[in-house]
């Protein structure tokens, strides 16, 4: 029971962090048709800038300033980079974001070096908020949850209640149609790209000290975020939310099961010989397959439901 409750809470925290990344990515994809390979790099940039600003003036200002900086950088990259490349088609755009991801990584290596940063949870949030059964639950995780839920509500209200949000929703299905009605679509693209980058930056600021802030953090999380938006359905926010929570739960819960194929066979009273074929394969435990499961889910999803959970188009 303890394991289930704690795992559920942890997967909620990780799931909402994933959603903060995937929401921006799926909106950018839905609108511009571009899979932004550099999206996780903005998350990494958020963590590094968050660290740097918090060294200078503390964590709380960093929480606001770093995402804004990342958002401005993202908007600038869209305005002066991606927009120029746009007319050469999606392949050129894809390559552009691919190169961008490497550039951001190299830049971070140049400035902050190869070693993981000592980016710590702020002292004011470094305590146990409640005891569940026998385990301590850190206050910082509750804080992460509060930030990500607040962000979700704000994003939802912005998209459904404001005129800009309605224009963004419309552009998700028909960017051309929005343009011919007199709305400046390139500007909307810039807002979405900047906003999506800022959200990724925010995820970096609050996730960097919870996980690890190192130059490999983009490569570690990036592929999972792609899985989330494919499984959720490209361009669908609700889909991204469901898939984020699902994949986080899958990874979190898998860690707690140490069964292997040997155990399964034992259940049916089958004995493996002392030297079976592929001896390691039989002893792989579910907990070790955790990193693999999201990709398995994606492959299965692509075979049986290529448009994803909530998607309206084939991905």
């Amino acid at each position: 029971m303890e394991f289930y409750v704690i795992s559920l809470l942890n997967s909620l925290v990780f799931g909402m962090l994933l959603f903060m990344l995937s929401s921006g990515l799926t909106l950018i994809f839905g609108m511009m048709g571009v899979l932004n390979f550099a999206h996780a790099s903005f998350y990494m940039l958020g963590a590094y800038l968050g660290y740097q600003v918090s060294v200078f003036i503390g964590f709380w200002p960093a929480l606001v300033i770093a995402p804004i900086l990342v958002g401005i950088i993202g908007a600038g990259i869209e305005r002066y980079g991606l927009r120029t490349v746009h007319k050469y088609g999606h392949v050129a755009e894809l390559l552009f974001t691919f190169g961008l991801a490497f550039m951001i990584e190299e830049l971070i290596l140049l400035i902050w070096g190869r070693v993981a940063l000592n980016y710590q949870v702020p002292a004011s949030l470094d305590f146990t908020i409640f005891k569940l059964f026998e385990s301590d639950f850190p206050a910082y995780r509750v804080f992460m949850l509060v930030v990500s839920v607040t962000m979700f509500v704000a994003l939802y209200l912005m998209l459904t209640r404001t005129r800009t949000g309605i224009i963004i929703q419309a552009a998700l299905t028909h960017a051309e149609g929005v343009g011919m009605l007199g709305h400046n679509v390139p500007r909307v693209f810039m807002i979405v790209f900047g906003g999506g980058s800022a959200l990724a930056g925010l995820a970096g600021v609050i996730g960097g000290n919870y996980l690890v802030t190192s130059p490999s953090m983009a490569i570690l999380l990036g592929p999972i975020v792609f899985v989330v938006i494919v499984v959720g359905g490209m361009g669908s926010l609700t889909g991204a939310l469901i898939a984020s929570l699902l994949i986080a739960a899958l990874q979190t819960f898998a860690v707690g099961y140490d069964y292997s194929l040997v155990d399964l066979l034992t259940l049916f009273n089958i004995e493996l010989g002392s030297e079976p074929l592929f001896p390691d394969l039989w002893r792989i435990k579910i907990e070790n397959t955790g990193p693999l499961l999201p990709y398995l889910l994606m492959v299965v999803m692509l075979i049986f439901r290529p448009k994803g959970i909530m998607g309206e188009r084939e991905s």
Binding site: I166, G179, M180, L181, G182, V185
Partner: protein, 231 residues
Amino acid sequence: MLEVKNLNAYYGRSHILQGVNLEIQEGEIVSLLGRNGVGRSTTCKAIMGLVVPQGTVKYQGEDIAGLPAHAIAHKGIGYVPEDRWIFPALTVLQNLQLGQKNAKQKGRWSFEDMYEMFPILYERSNLRAGLLSGGEQQMLTMCRTLMGDPDLVMIDEPTEGLAPNNVALVKNLISEIAARKISVLLVEQKLTIALKIANRLYVMGHGQIVFEGTPQEFQDNPEVRKEWLEV
């Protein structure tokens, strides 16, 4: 009001528009006829800036060729595309609101006008537009463009696939548009409608204008119909 000279456009390597010349006067209804695939929709899209145009597109004396679509819309040209491009996830009301260029825009058309002409849009104003029937979506698309208060509106195949009662509604709306002194470029397959409401008409073939005249002149030249329109 609109003067198109030697307009060319390409889709990849195919040369779709091969020097189109046409003009529309203030308050005129002009019909653009032709078989499928001769470039009528592309002509509209090139004028609207949705397809890259080569040549001259003069609107109110100003060359607008090469401007982005949203800038052309702000000059006062509206477009009702054949495949409608409604925003399915938004409500009918939100679709109409996006027709306005900004939240405060007031033009010749109000929400009440639209609801009066098409009570069904009022009844469904809070429904997702994707749930409307084809005919209702056509009404919505036309009303949405009109909410932006264009001085010239290009309407692409508005009656295609519609039931007869909806065709009548569309016809009424076009007459109402003309009554409010808005110029119309009407791309239409149904000759009866085009001949009835147009002041002038153009026939297109192979990416060019092959006939230009009044409906009467068109009637007097049956060989034009035979050569360029009949299948």
